[in-house]
Amino acid sequence: MQYKSQAVAKLYFIAAIALFAGQVLFGLIMGLQYVVGDFLFPAIPFNVARMVHTNLLIVWLLFGFMGGAYYLIPEESETELYSPKLAVALFWIFLVAGALTIVGYLAVPYATLAKITGNDLLETMGREFLEQPLPTKLGIVVVALAFLFNITMTVLKGKKTSISTVLLLGLWGLAVFFLFSFYNPANLVKDKFYWWWVVHLWVEGVWELILGSLLAFVLIKVTGVDREVIEKWLYVIVTLTLVTGIIGTGHHYYWIGTPEYWQWWGSVFSALEPIPFFAMTVFAFNMVNRRRREHPNNAATLWALGTGVMAFLGAGVWGFLHTLAPVNYYTHGTQITAAHGHMAFYGAYAMVVLTMISYAMPVMRGRAANSNRAQVIEMWSFWLMTIAMVFITLFLTAAGILQVWLQRFSSTPISFMQAQDQISLFYWLREGTGVVFLIGLILYIVSFFVGGDEKPAQA
């Protein structure tokens, strides 16, 4: 580790992995409720499990991004972090606030939670992914601003590289677009319109800047390729991202009461959104093939390549599948959406955080790379989780195609619940594959505790 203060990232990474495990457990609970409808009812109704699953996902990714930034920024800026103490304090605030929120979801009825947390003052709750009570939302803003202050000050006092600039832009964008979660007009169309300014402009906008810069950083480290080349690629990728992704928001404005010209704008621009993801894959493979050193951390290289491929498949291919308006007319809000959501979130954001952890954690533990044994186990976990996610996506896609056929496309459409009964086989298969994913995750955690011939730290 080049700078002492980078070590704060370790806390963030540990929390991220723990919350990831919680997320997957609740995913499995819901997966079972899909086929055994009364499982854990009324203790944990489906909607509660879903909030826990998706909110833990967002929170662990945020921990991962923040940890990644705390590790990356000092090294790029060639200076210690502006305030390591602030970083540690924010960690505990965020962790406690997050834990209280999850406990709130599970312990009291949602309507009660809304009442006692002041939802009447400013109604922001009860919208997908933005279910957090007002104090939590405010807490997120405060933590985000203090975090941004800390890393921005670090960059300002040190060297400014393209990687840290793109990362800062992405993180600032994340905080700015989150502010739209406070805007919830009674007009449902407007509510939905601006809801996407958080959700879409996050995952298909500013988060991709974070993704690109974390990936570029790790690629420089493990391949030793010239920074000029990697940073040029990074700019090209994020240009393609924002040029296509901003107007691409239109692919959510087809059927929610917005004007029909969005069917054109949304289809054309979002159909181009796979290009930056494709470029990212080519970029990762290209850099690894042109590598100038053999870095002993093979697991990190595998994660970096995997991120490129899986982000392209999940976001690029599965996104394109249902993004054209005439297709989306039938697939909108079906298991096809769920299939895409899973592979895209995993392939792009879960995997880039795991890439960063894979590279940085051994360094923070005083070595260039883990022992071969530990790396082999980590690579097993990579394959188990990744292949499981591919099959989860395939099963949900099959379920979605049948759902569309039975319920929407057929000349004698059957009801939603009847269609769900007909496709339950695929939900069972998804649940079984989810267990394989969990085994992969357990192996991943185990890999941190496996010793052996660790590779000594290098300059």
Binding site: Q33, Y34, V36, G37, D38, P42, P45, F46, N47, V48, R50, M51, Y110, A111, A114, E123, M125, G126, E128, E131, S162, A186, N187, L188, V189, K190, E228, E231, K232, W233, Y235, V236, V238, T239, V243, I246, I247, T249, H252, Y253, Y254, W255, I256, G257, T258, P259, W262, W265, Y329, H332, G333, T334, Q335, T337, Q407, P413, I414, S415, F416, M417
Partner: protein, 141 residues
């Protein structure tokens, strides 16, 4: 990428392209905002509808259902449930939950008052009258 295409060129295209397309997006959003009154059924946005939206949100209905195709995929689309079932059915349905049928997906009992039920139905009626460009394809949602 050839040697003539430099990093600073890439950076400039990044900033220029982003600003241009963000401004275009703002312009389209502005135009959408002025086109909305003809489509978003705001004439029927009564206090009952507003109260109903709040019931919808504070019971986290979106955690199981979709509304105009957005939300969760565990339970039926409700953007058109008013058209599919009518107000009386909706109220009776909500009051009789959970069904308790073994193995069947369960919906919680929310203990809503008659006024709250009426507000919720008003909200669902309002939602069903938004011009959603002929979506969903049929009444099953």
């Amino acid at each position: 990428m050839s040697g003539t295409f430099t990093k600073s060129m890439a950076r400039n295209i990044f900033y220029g392209g982003t600003v241009f397309f963000f401004l275009l997006f703002l312009a389209l959003s502005f135009d959408t905002n002025s086109a909305l009154p003809a489509r978003d059924n705001r004439a029927n946005l009564t206090p009952a509808v507003e109260a109903g939206k709040k019931i919808w949100e504070t019971r986290n209905c979106i955690g199981c259902h979709t509304l105009l195709g957005e939300g969760a995929y565990f339970a039926p689309e409700l953007g058109n449930v008013y058209t599919r079932r009518g107000g009386d059915f909706i109220k009776a349905w909500i009051k009789s939950q959970p069904t308790g049928a073994p193995g069947r997906r369960q919906m919680p009992q929310f203990n809503l008052t008659d006024k709250e039920l009426d507000d919720l139905v008003a909200f669902l009626k309002y939602a069903s009258e938004i011009n959603s460009a002929k979506w969903p394809p049929n009444v099953e949602g």
